[in-house]
């Protein structure tokens, strides 16, 4: 049976892991390479590395950090942040990323999803959606690390991303991110039940029950969390044991 995945996320700024509240007020949670090693040994099913300011500062991802991080990982590594060209994807894959997470560039140009999926395969194209609730069952997507509104409906966009060849959707609630009050379950469920590609729930995890809700109510294929793991509140194995007790299929 295919197992549900737990993905610790390294939000990286200037080569260091940080985690903020609602994408601002970043705190330092250490070296990404060290963190990745801990997660790899600790039972993470995948690791996500997001250079959270790359796009807003028009700065390219620190390829050497990615390559160093990749050396410590024998689980799939997804890298995102500031990806805007086929060349960017190529150099990240060469640096050791297994998948790339594309946000701003894909929103600007939906064809970019198609081009990259054809060139590298859907399996390595993750489309990141940062969504904010604007009404009843209505969410709008934001770009540039949550700084710019777009007027684009998140649900419509998820459909477009799937149609254009995205292999997976990384879905972050802007309202919930950093609040520790749980995922936006309605958003997660709305998109998970709409698309036939896997959806990763992200933004808002404060305890292990939130992960359970992401799977059980949100119907996510994977759950992503940052701060609960970074600050040692819970280990990956704590999360796995909890979810197994609750009846979620998890790899041990």
């Amino acid at each position: 049976m295919l197992k549900k995945r737990i993905i610790p996320c390294l939000d990286v700024k200037d080569g260091r892991v940080v985690k903020g509240i609602n994408f601002v007020n970043l705190k330092d949670a250490g070296d990404p390479v060290e963190q990745a090693k801990i997660y790899d040994k600790g039972g993470a099913d995948e690791i996500c590395f997001l250079d959270i300011t790359a796009s807003s500062e028009n700065r390219k991802i620190l390829l050497d950090k990615v390559s160093e991080t990749a050396k410590s990982c024998f689980v799939p590594l997804t890298v995102g942040g500031g990806i805007s060209s086929i060349e960017d994807i190529k150099s990240l894959l060469l640096a050791g990323a297994d998948k790339v997470s594309i946000n701003t560039a894909a929103v600007k140009n939906h064809n970019f999803i198609k081009e990259s999926a054809i060139r590298f395969g859907s399996q390595c194209i993750v489309i990141a959606i940062d969504a904010k609730k604007i009404g009843n069952n209505k969410w709008e997507i934001f770009t540039h690390g949550g700084r710019n509104s777009t007027g684009i409906d998140a649900i419509e966009y998820a459909k477009i991303a799937e149609k254009n060849g995205a292999g997976e959707i990384l879905l972050t609630s802007m309202d919930k991110d950093g609040t520790k009050t749980g995922y936006d379950i309605e958003l997660t469920k709305a998109i998970s039940s709409l698309v036939s590609i896997p959806v990763i729930a992200s933004g808002g995890v404060g305890n292990l029950d939130h992960l359970y809700e992401g799977f059980n109510i949100g119907l996510a294929s994977a759950v992503l969390a940052a701060s609960i793991f970074h600050y040692g509140e819970y280990s990956i194995m704590d999360a796995k044991n909890y979810l197994i007790k609750k009846g979620i299929p998890i790899r041990i």
Binding site: M1, L2, K3, K4, R5, D40, D45, S67, A70, K71, F74, V75, P76, L93, L94, A95, G96, A97, D98, I118, R119, F120, G121, S122, Q123, C124, G167, E168, S196, I197, P198, L219, S221, A222, R251
Partner: protein
């Protein structure tokens, strides 16, 4: 022993080479790993690894676009009869043909075709992505000391439909049983990614390095 990873512009070769480096430390042989697209290097090798990411068609075209590469792999496998390990689309290319994008010819070493996975259960997603249990259906040397139903990492939407059941050594359940490892004489391949499957994957790679025909 020279082990070449075939480089034809697809996917993440570094993952494969660094996993192979770790696997090499676990065998009692001197292993020289090289990443190459040169026919001469392929033919000089003792073993080769054929990775593959993306679509069947793009991978087949990628190999054919490099002068002499396709033929050298054929010669290595069919005439020299030396061991090859195909990973993901690398394994799929062992088939007669693939149906991704448009019908594309493969190497045709193992009878069968690569077709999209059919699902009735709407809760199941495509790609089949993540960790799934691998069931060894035919005893073989490659899975030596790997527990049955160990987890390996998958990411694919198309699967190998083998004509000859004897070529199939592992299956995985995704609504229906899916063929996930093939073995025919010197030809071995897995649908999953050993390089992304932690200890089980490293063990499989070191078994490949130790493998004597």
């Amino acid at each position: 022993m020279y082990v070449s990873i075939v480089d034809y512009g697809t996917g993440n070769l570094n993952s494969v080479s660094k996993a192979l480096e770790v696997a090499a430390t676990k065998v009692n042989k001197k292993i020289n790993i090289r990443i190459s697209n040169k026919p001469k290097d392929i033919l000089d090798s003792d073993k080769i690894i054929l990775p593959g990411q993306g679509s069947y068609r793009q991978c087949a075209l990628g190999l054919k676009n490099i002068s002499g590469l396709w033929d050298s792999i054929n010669e290595f496998v069919l005439i020299k009869k030396k061991p090859i390990f195909g990973i993901c689309v690398g394994m799929q290319l062992f088939s007669d043909q693939g149906f991704e994008e448009e019908v594309t010819k493969g190497f045709g070493w193992i009878k069968g075709a690569v077709k999209k996975i059919k699902l009735n259960n709407k809760d199941l997603k495509l790609p089949h992505m993540g960790w799934n249990e691998v069931s060894v259906v035919k005893k073989n040397d490659l899975f030596l000391d790997i527990k049955n139903l160990s987890h390996f990492y998958f990411v694919h939407s198309y699967a190998f439909e083998a004509e000859n059941i004897n070529d199939v050594i592992c299956k995985t359940d995704y609504e229906e049983p899916v063929v996930v490892a093939l073995l025919k004489e010197n030809i071995f391949g897995t649908q999953f990614h050993p390089e992304k499957s932690q200890e089980n994957g490293i063990k499989l790679l070191s078994n490949f390095l130790n493998w004597n025909l």
